[in-house]
Amino acid sequence: MIPLLSLDGVSRIYRQRRGLLGRGVPLRAVDDISLSVAPGLTLGVVGESGCGKSTTGRLALGLETPDSGRVTFRGAVMPPPDGAEWRSQRRHLQLVPQDPLGALDRRLTVAAQIAEPLLIHGIGNRGEREDRLAALLNDVGLRADQAARYPHELSGGQRQRAVLARALATSPALLVCDEPVSALDVSIQAQVINMLTDLQAARGIAMIFISHDLKVVRQVSHEVAVMYLGRVVEQGDPDAIFADPLHPYARALVSAIPVPGPRRLPRIVLSGDPPNPADRPAGCAFHPRCSLATAQCRVEEPGLIARADGRRVACHRADELARASA
């Protein structure tokens, strides 16, 4: 199947200045990753802060140009930002950000903002746009009187619905959801997650769902990629990975999720903090925190290698670990 969007060997390097007069040091926010999303399906991207998951989302949307590798949408290379071609492609690729209050204009009513993409992309005449607005509000469960309000007059859940309606206005083929429910209360989170999966089922929208919350990612994803310091360390079927993660970092991450009720996997507590992305350890970037690291891990970076069960793992000791857990 032809993927809707694919990232092939994509890297994004920022230059980070150290000190006032310091020279810039390269920070590999995303380092040679390859991912793809099929139409109508969801790719979950998980990892801790600084792992490059949001940069991955921005690369997928074409908001950033990769320093190497390429991003293709429907088989064509993503046009560079701000050109006419890029602008017209915006309607197919939309972002749902984490903080809806920050993403909404406080001086415009919610309805005006939901309808704005239709104006920008010249979709429909006035009457059609009004019908479309009503349909969008209905899809995300907002009433017309709520949409007539300003962002600060709505609750967090209602604002997130408004941001989602705005993203859906142009009928995009792909939504990049960057921590879309992290700021919401648990009971509201469930409403928004159900709404996202319902909309996906009804409209066949593909999603890249970025989150630090593994429970939420498992709920919505058809495939999942675990990132650590700019690289994918394990990728595959969410049920397989979350039930039996293979990469030592994925294992620690899964075991660190606090669950109400009895714990299935023994808890692995990692020592130390995630290293600074500007100061990547040599070899496997995870080796300083890994209890299984060997001399090879300190010098040689493991590749992301496909395994018999279909998942891909970047660990020198993956075979041993798979045998031990079998």
């Binding site: 209360d185 009971s187 997650i193 899964v254 999720i257 669950v259 299935r264």
Partner: protein
């Protein structure tokens, strides 16, 4: 029932005439770990800010907060200062904003040691270093001279915990201590709190929106909604057999980590704003079992056995399971 360290009795708080807390009763035994869970605006933080006299003056507070039988609410500021940070310490969600950015972190811990334990000079610094070691800050001697911005979020939270331990408190109130941290760092801090509690024998109140975090660390949990504790039970009981419709709804709304994926059961509607609490049960507008009686008055907490209490008129209480011995 063992002796009680802190006993909160019928605590009410209102801001500008709007009730934020509506009659909270809670007992903490010495050395016990109690969790308070709930969504934003439920009053879980306000309960402890009010108990320790940390709310702004415009807050109207009534009720009793007894520490060893002495009501903190009636104490003079100087007497309260001798308790806060000494016998009862508190840590917050965002450690970086709780620390002073222009003073070295070691100096801030030394200040707490001087205030609460009368230590000075080399003795205070040695004790600060011991505390840094205790909370697992690597290279403690050098980190004493670091500024907050030079440390990671997890390390800053460790500094805050070290500072809270400076007074050798009998109770540590941790308000969302791991919410701003990454999952693997959260696991480290939870482990640290568990170890410190076991080593020092202090009681712990863990305030969190995350049921999993509370389940991990606490032996007893209170679920708050709309300014009240709606259900309270030993942790295992609460997660295995929740009785209040809100607790049941919260657990059903959480995605599972294992087993088949199911559609989440969302609770309809939204959390009520404090200026808009219904007169009766706060949860009634979202509750499937609500009747007109629920709107009439606040439901009182009733005991349903084994340290389990619930404030709901309609809660279905499971029959006590009787062991059936085959003949």
């Amino acid at each position: 029932m063992s002796a009680t360290l802190v006993s909160i009795r019928d605590l009410w708080v209102s801001f500008d005439g709007h009730a934020a807390l509506r009659g909270v009763d809670l007992d903490i035994a010495p050395g016990e770990a109690v969790g308070l869970v709930g969504e934003s605006g439920c009053g879980k933080s306000v309960t402890w800010l009010a108990a320790l006299g940390l709310l702004p003056v415009k807050a109207a507070v009534s009720g009793q907060v007894l520490l060893d039988g002495q009501d903190l609410r009636t104490l003079k500021p100087a007497a309260l200062d001798a308790i806060r940070g000494r016998r009862v310490a508190m840590i917050f969600q965002d450690p970086a904003s709780s620390l002073n950015p222009v003073h070295r972190v070691g100096r801030q811990v030394v200040e707490a040691l001087r205030l609460h334990r009368g230590l000075d000079g080399a003795a205070a610094r040695a004790e600060a270093r011991r505390l840094f070691d205790l909370v697992g800050i690597p290279d403690a001697g050098r980190r004493l001279d670091a500024f907050a911005h030079e440390l990671s979020g997890g390390q800053n939270q460790r500094v805050m915990i070290a500072m809270a331990l400076a007074g050798e408190p009998e109770l540590l109130v941790a308000d969302e201590p791991t919410t701003a941290l990454d999952a693997t760092i959260q696991a480290q801090i939870l482990d640290l709190l568990r170890r410190l509690q076991a080593e020092t024998g202090m009681a712990l109140v863990l305030i969190s929106h995350d049921l999993g975090v509370v389940a991990d660390l606490c032996s007893r949990v209170g679920v708050m909604y709309g300014g009240r504790i709606v259900e309270e039970a030993p942790t295992a009981t609460l997660f295995a057999a929740p009785v209040h419709p809100y607790t049941q709804g919260l657990l059903a709304a959480l995605p599972d980590m294992t087993g088949p994926r199911r559609r989440l059961t969302a609770i309809a509607g939204g959390v009520p704003e404090p200026w808009n609490f219904p007169p009766g049960c706060s949860f009634a507008p979202r509750c499937m079992s609500a009747t007109s009686a629920c709107d009439a008055a606040l439901p009182a907490a009733r005991d349903v056995g084994d340290g389990h209490s619930v404030a709901c008129l309609h809660a279905h209480v499971p029959e006590p399971v009787r062991a059936v011995v085959p003949a």
